[in-house]
């Protein structure tokens, strides 16, 4: 009786092997596959409040989920034509490589190793994050640099373990990592006092704090110890689908820049701003260049609203997480969210 995940990983590796063996290279474009099955298969996080989680009725919501919806709306004309495949951190890349999913939208950090050696391409950045620490207020510490000798709980299969070691080494701290397979186990050990601190991306810390029974007893330390640009990934070898994925994300960002919201989208169709006309397909037809039709961006924006709306609804001021926009503001409002132009 080997561990469940292990056997699942083996199964997916075996699946990968058979899938790889039985498919000729470059068979069927991803777009054709999605259209013929009339469904987008999207790999998401099992449970991360604000990014992807299910409610009591099994409905998915979150930023990563909304991106899948926008993509499905753009390609298939219906935001509900998505099959969500919940994946843990270890399974995610194998699932993408083996073709089990079309796109991986699962708060994944863009790094060189992952971009260069996994047979995948990062589509862009959905959320600029950074790793931080949460501690109990009763510890009475104000900085992560006071964590010398501490035990820190974290979930396995992420970039956090390495960042933690780097931070400890750089600051000559003796920090013991305690690595759990499941996030609930890691937070459980932190809550019980086995670990003095819990570390993950700052957005994840806010999410954990928001669902904790006693949010006021915990504080997030000011240090952000790493850069974690989170974004979706697609398989290599299909540039057409790669381009569609990129530009749907860009359309959501441009939508915010030009003030296109879910509510005002139809009245903006009569706008005489050439930029808006191009995005909504009322003048030039940009969609055909992507292999879609002229309303590709209109449908995406109609389904989920623009990037700002997605942010505020899931993790921002309209959500329990109450995260600041920070770096995730558009470039012309003090952030670094910048989309290349749709033209």
């Amino acid at each position: 009786m080997l561990k469940n995940t292990l056997s699942r990983t083996i199964a997916s590796v075996a699946l990968c092997a058979t899938a790889v063996v039985s498919l000729p290279a470059h068979a069927g474009k991803t777009l054709d596959t999605i259209k013929s099955r009339d469904q987008l298969v999207c790999g998401v996080n099992v449970a991360l409040a604000g990014f992807s989680s299910t409610d009591s009725e099994g409905k998915w919501s979150g930023m990563d989920v909304d991106y899948c919806k926008a993509l499905a709306a753009s390609i298939l004309g219906d935001a509900n034509k998505v099959k969500y495949v919940p994946l843990n951190a270890q399974q995610r890349f194998t699932a993408l490589q083996s073709g089990e999913i079309d796109i991986l939208s699962r708060n994944t950090t863009w790094t060189l190793t992952r971009d260069a050696s996994l047979g995948a391409n990062f589509v862009g950045v959905m959320y600029y994050d950074g790793q931080g620490f949460m501690v109990k207020k009763e510890l009475k510490i104000a900085s992560a640099k006071e964590l010398n000798g501490a035990t820190v709980c974290t979930q396995s299969g992420t970039t956090t373990e390495k960042n933690l070691s780097d931070f400890a080494r750089a600051n000559k701290l003796d920090i013991k990592p305690l690595v759990f397979e499941k996030n609930e186990a890691a937070t459980g050990a932190y809550q019980s006092g086995r670990c003095q601190a819990y570390t993950t991306d700052a957005s994840g810390l806010a999410a954990e704090r928001s669902i904790s029974k006693t949010p006021d007893e915990h504080m997030i330390l000011p240090e952000i110890i790493s850069k974690e640009p989170l974004g979706p990934l697609v398989r290599r070898g299909d540039d057409e689908f790669f381009a569609i994925s990129k530009w749907v994300l860009n359309a959501l960002l441009e939508g915010e820049e030009y003030g296109l919201t879910q509510a005002n989208l139809d009245e903006k169709k009569s706008s005489d701003d050439p930029n808006i006309q191009r995005i909504l397909g009322t003048s030039e037809n940009m969609g055909t260049l992507l292999g879609l039709d002229k309303e590709w961006a209109y449908r995406a924006l109609k389904a989920t609203g623009n990037y700002g709306e997605i942010f505020e609804r899931n993790v921002g001021k309209d959500s329990p997480l109450k995260l600041e926009r920070g770096l995730n503001q558009p470039w012309n409002k003090g952030g670094i969210m910048y989309a290349p132009p749709i033209r």
């Binding site: 561990k3 035990t151 013991k176």
Partner: protein, 317 residues
Amino acid sequence: MAFWRNQKTRGWLYQLAALLLVAACIVWLADNTLENMRNRGIQSGFDFLSQPAGFAISESLFGYESTDTYWRAFLAGLGNTLKVAVVGIILTTILGVLLGVGRFSHNILIRGLCLTYVEVFRNVPLLLQLLMWYLVCVEWLPNVREAEPFLGIYLTKAGLALPWFGDMPVKAGFGIKGGVNLSPEFFALLLGLTIYTASYIAEIVRSGIASVPRGQREAALALGLSRGQTMRLIQLPQALRVIIPPLTNQYLNLTKNSSLAVAVGYPELVSIANTSLNQTGRAVECIAVIMAVYLTLSLLTSAFMGWYNRRSAIKER
């Protein structure tokens, strides 16, 4: 008679052909997988093992630093697996034999307790037991800051700290420095594996003893041996022949079940391999390492138990 008419030779040839076919299939599969991985831009190979791992491990038998290589990290994980497996096998054997023998006790209370133990622990999933022991360890033990030493021993949420040849454990910051330190993760895993496996071993021992003909016991008692002597000198040695083969299975199970440690944060081989897999993306390679290690450990255990079994078998003189 021509040699291909010889049934024995033909038997060998068929087996050889079957073996070659299987080998060819494996080679073809591996080659195809590798080529397709290359085509898709997935890098593969074991070269990553000599790269620095870059992550720390909370406990290790031999000094391991985050700047060490991946293969040192795997070694540290293997060390932790062996540590819990070896200690676990010893403890579970003692506990299991006591429980199995206890089933033959004349004291109804002892008999009943042993039966209850077996039925309870055999029928609750191991993962649940591990989580329960871990919860007991981290919820009920005191915080390091509030803990007072007892004879120099600290038992806290940070684990059990014992003095070691004059090296006394002392509180330092958030943790405890000095002495020998056993973590709650190790404890929970050891406790869970020992108690769970012992319930199976108890049944094996019970059935082994029950298989010894009753006359043996009656004859020993008639000769004037005490009940304890009869068990120790007459019944158990004969029961061993029946006990050892299934006992080997339980030892293998215990070793393999130690991979459940990821649930309670103990950094054994699978946990380390998971982390490495995620940082390097070399899924096939990391899984291959895990499989090779468990296969080797299992074969070694089997070989040792096989030798012990031959030694305790009936020798006809």
